[in-house]
């Protein structure tokens, strides 16, 4: 119960008007950068660093942390409304949420994602409060072989993301992997497949790819169809009902637990978690046929896992000073700016500060819920804007977002190129999700494989002799086998249906 009394002390400090104000500023800024595709918390936190240096550490870090988890709330908005996932981890949200929007249920989808974000995010903070000391060492249990086994499991999700045609899904994943190889090999620094181009040497980032595959191809498709308005449904719902919440609460809790645990592993990209959660929900759902055509429990699960992962990421950060991603690296920079080094020593020397920050995360999540729920109706009405007006606004926001990432026009050309590729993939019926997943996973997969072989001096047995890695590989094999079996079952059913139809 020591954590409990410390937490109460933290609340006492976090509730001061001054600290509340900065939590609110951070929440608003986080929602804003989360909504804008391409922009993320990394840029926003980096931008506020010099500003924050005029503040005391507590309000400054409260604000930067709020930007970080606040951005996870905004991430679903454009995915649901206009089929543009702002980052890789929202791709499954777009796959289901956009379908819901087309059916006139964009409002409920957004509302449910706000509620799931709040519930799972808060679960993550509870985990951070009470289990951080016990679970912190998991962050260190993952060496290169474990990471390779994890990515192996990630790639196996392609099987379930491939839609009807597994072969095309695999090809799509291969092209994604190949795209990610372009540039400098992260371990040896050797240039690969760059053909002497300086721009290619920097590699192809996956955000411009996602922008192209989703946003640009969406604009092209709607332009050719002369769409008047993307929302054609007659009956439109603006807000989630109790039934929606009843349908999704179990998925939210499951994803909260998984998301938090995945957040403990510093090298595990949130995209992997959200695809994994999506896959799990699909397998254990009572209505798997709804997936791909607007499953609201999938939206809840994916958005919930994003937020729980964000909370979980604070465990290795506060316990060891290990950042799980670029945004937390900048946040770590914020700590260092005040001469504070997160780690066991900080826990002993400045417990009050840490507990204030943790307490502020409970408050921040409540603020974000209050901030985002009323916005849902407003956002959902955006889908009523005629396409000829909405289209160019989408294009401008995504392209500027893609530019802001690396300040590179080359990235914008990549976006357009993948816009055309995405368009062709729709026409030739290639699934897009495996390509996104593959580009996200490729680097970690290859580097961890090579590192493992260096560690074992060339013996691949290292993947099987280490318990965590062996468990993941076993899980992968099980998942692939059951996935193919389920696929076969579904096919048999479909054939039966078609035969009974005729």
């Amino acid at each position: 119960m020591e954590a409990w009394s410390s937490l109460m002390g933290g609340f006492a400090a976090a509730i001061s008007p001054y600290n509340l104000m900065f939590a609110l500023i951070g929440s608003i800024a986080g929602t804003l950068v989360g909504v804008l595709p391409g922009l993320g918390p990394t840029a926003a936190i980096a931008m506020l660093l010099p500003l924050a240096s005029h503040l005391d550490p507590a309000p400054a870090i409260i604000m930067m942390a709020a930007i970080y988890y606040g951005a996870m709330y905004g991430g679903s908005t454009t995915s649901v409304l206009v089929n543009i996932p702002g980052e890789a981890s929202s791709v499954p949200t777009a796959m289901e949420g956009y379908q819901l929007n087309l059916q006139g249920r964009g409002g409920p989808a957004l509302g449910i994602s706000a509620i799931a974000s709040f519930a799972a995010g808060t679960m993550g903070v509870i985990g951070l409060t009470f289990f951080a000391p016990v679970l912190a060492r998991t962050a260190l249990a993952f060496g290169p072989p474990e990471y390779f086994a994890l990515t192996f499991l990630g790639v196996s999700l392609v099987v379930s993301l491939s839609g009807r045609d597994l072969g095309k899904g695999l090809l799509s994943a291969l092209v994604g992997l190949l795209t990610a190889v372009i540039g400098l090999d992260p371990l040896t620094g050797v240039t690969r497949l760059t053909f002497g181009s300086m721009e290619l040497m920097a590699g192809i980032d996956f955000v411009p790819i996602i922008m192209g595959l989703f946003a640009i191809s969406e604009i092209l498709v709607n332009a050719e169809k002369e769409t008047k308005c993307i929302l054609e449904a007659k009956r439109i719902e603006w807000l989630p009902t109790w039934q929606d919440i009843k349908d999704t609460w179990a998925a939210t809790i499951r994803s909260g637990v998984i998301g938090f645990l995945a957040g403990l592993i510093p090298g595990c990209s949130p995209a992997v978690t959200s695809f994994m959660v999506y896959d799990l929900e699909k397998r254990f759902s009572k209505h798997p046929e709804k997936f791909g055509h607007g499953a609201i429990d999938a939206v809840a699960a994916v958005e919930g896992s994003n937020n729980a992962t964000a909370s979980g990421g604070f465990v290795p950060l506060l316990a060891f000073g290990i950042p799980s991603g670029p945004a937390l690296a900048v946040l770590l920079g914020g700590f260092l700016m005040y001469g504070l080094q997160p780690g066991p020593r900080l826990m002993q020397e400045q417990p009050a500060l840490l507990w204030t920050i943790i307490a502020s995360m409970y408050i921040g999540n409540v603020m974000l819920l209050v901030l985002n729920l009323p916005l849902v109706g407003l956002w959902a009405r955006m889908a009523l804007i005629p396409f000829p007006i909405l289209g160019p606004i989408i294009a401008v926001c995504t392209l500027i977002g893609a530019y802001s990432l690396r300040h590179s026009f080359f990235d914008l050309w990549i976006s357009l190129l993948f816009g055309v590729i995405g368009y062709l993939m729709r026409k030739f019926e290639f699934p897009v999700a495996p390509m996104v997943l593959a580009t996200v996973l490729a680097k970690l997969m290859e580097t961890s494989y090579m590192q493992s072989l260096v560690m074992s001096k060339g013996s691949p047995l290292i993947f099987f002799t280490r318990p965590i890695s062996a468990a993941f590989i076993l899980l992968t094999l099980l998942s692939v086998a059951s996935g193919i079996w389920l696929r076969r079952q579904a096919k048999v059913k479909q054939v039966e249906l078609e035969e009974s139809d005729s």
């Binding site: 249990a141 371990l187 040896t188 920097a202 510093p266 290990i322 670029p326 920079g333 690396r406 680097k443």
Partner: protein, 319 residues
């Protein structure tokens, strides 16, 4: 008369020429608009934090806005190749890292060469140090070397990338002690240290500022610097143990080739003023950096010296 007319003409011509010549060499006022400070690594990293620290002071001494901008990729190579291709007017400068700017062009075509970059100043260094976990059986550098001699290639040393300071330090260490280690490269300092703390590698060559953060969990065996490092005053240098390795990551600022001297001087003065500020030096030390204040000439000499050392080592890797 005729002659004096001509001489007058010549005098006029010469003085005109001198005047215009002088006019050409005349320093244009600098800076008259905002200056871009290019950071070639991710926001939040050491280079970025240093740039952000310097930004307000630079703005004060230059009297213009300083914009911190990022060009991240290729371990910095992307930003540096942009630097050497940009206008030499002093409005774009980039953070430079040694040994990166020496080793990258030695490895392959990277779009720039070391001598294209005009170094303005070097303002901080992070000496490398060899560290093991507190729980490790190796108490001293001698024990570590002895163990490596018993079982060559069995002890693993983690570092960041190949053709990097960490890799080169490992190779120099092997060469000088007649040992062989299993060098495991990582994609950056964060994964390197994480794997080290998790016990997935036996030892690391790490940057001093990274190691200072974990001084509770680790034992530093030797520091690759001329003098003992203030963060680990008890730890001997490699030199004290008779191994002549001095390896560090040095950070500074560079300009495109052909930048006029007066601009270099102006920026050099601005950066050195910041680098010599005792308050800033104190901050740097607290974060585990060794403050430096090398001017343009001294930086160039240092880069040339290190280039000579690295040439032979790179030959060894490449063969």
């Amino acid at each position: 008369m005729c002659r004096s007319k001509w001489s007058l003409f010549i005098i006029v011509c010469v003085s005109l020429a001198l005047l215009t010549g002088y006019g050409l060499a005349q320093e244009k006022p600098y800076p008259t608009k905002s200056v871009t400070y290019l950071v070639t690594f991710d926001p939040g990293g050491q280079s970025d934090r240093e740039a952000r620290r310097q930004q307000p002071f630079l703005e004060k001494s230059l009297g213009q806005k300083v914009i911190v901008d990022y060009k991240v990729g290729g371990g910095g190579a992307l930003g540096w190749s942009e630097l050497v291709r940009s206008q030499p007017d002093g409005y774009l400068m980039a953070g430079i890292n040694i040994p990166h700017i020496i080793l990258q062009p030695m490895q392959q075509q990277t779009g720039y060469t070391t001598d294209q970059i005009i170094p303005v100043a070097l303002f901080q260094r992070t000496p490398l140090a060899l560290a093991v976990l507190k729980t490790s059986p190796y108490k001293t550098i001698q024990e570590f070397i002895a163990a490596a001699k018993v079982k060559p290639s069995d002890i693993s040393i983690g570092g960041s990338g190949t053709f990097s300071g960490h890799h080169v330090a490992t190779l120099r260490f092997q060469k000088m002690t007649g040992t062989k280690f299993n060098y495991v490269p990582f994609t950056g300092a964060a994964p390197q240290i994480t794997a080290f703390l998790g016990g997935h590698v036996n030892a690391v060559f790490g940057n001093s500022d990274d190691l200072v953060k974990y001084s509770g969990d680790i034992r530093v065996l030797a520091v690759a610097d001329e003098n003992r490092f203030f963060g680990f005053p008890e730890t001997p240098t490699f030199k004290e143990s008779g191994i002549d390795i001095v390896e560090s990551i040095d950070r500074g600022i560079g300009l495109p080739p052909k930048t006029p001297d007066y601009i270099v001087k102006k920026l050099e003065a601005a950066f050195l003023q910041i680098a010599k500020d005792p308050a800033i030096q104190e901050q740097m030390k607290k974060e585990g950096f060794v403050p430096l204040a090398l001017g343009s000439q001294a930086s160039r000499a240092y880069i040339e010296k290190m280039t000579g050392i690295y040439k032979d080592i790179v030959k060894d890797i490449k063969k």
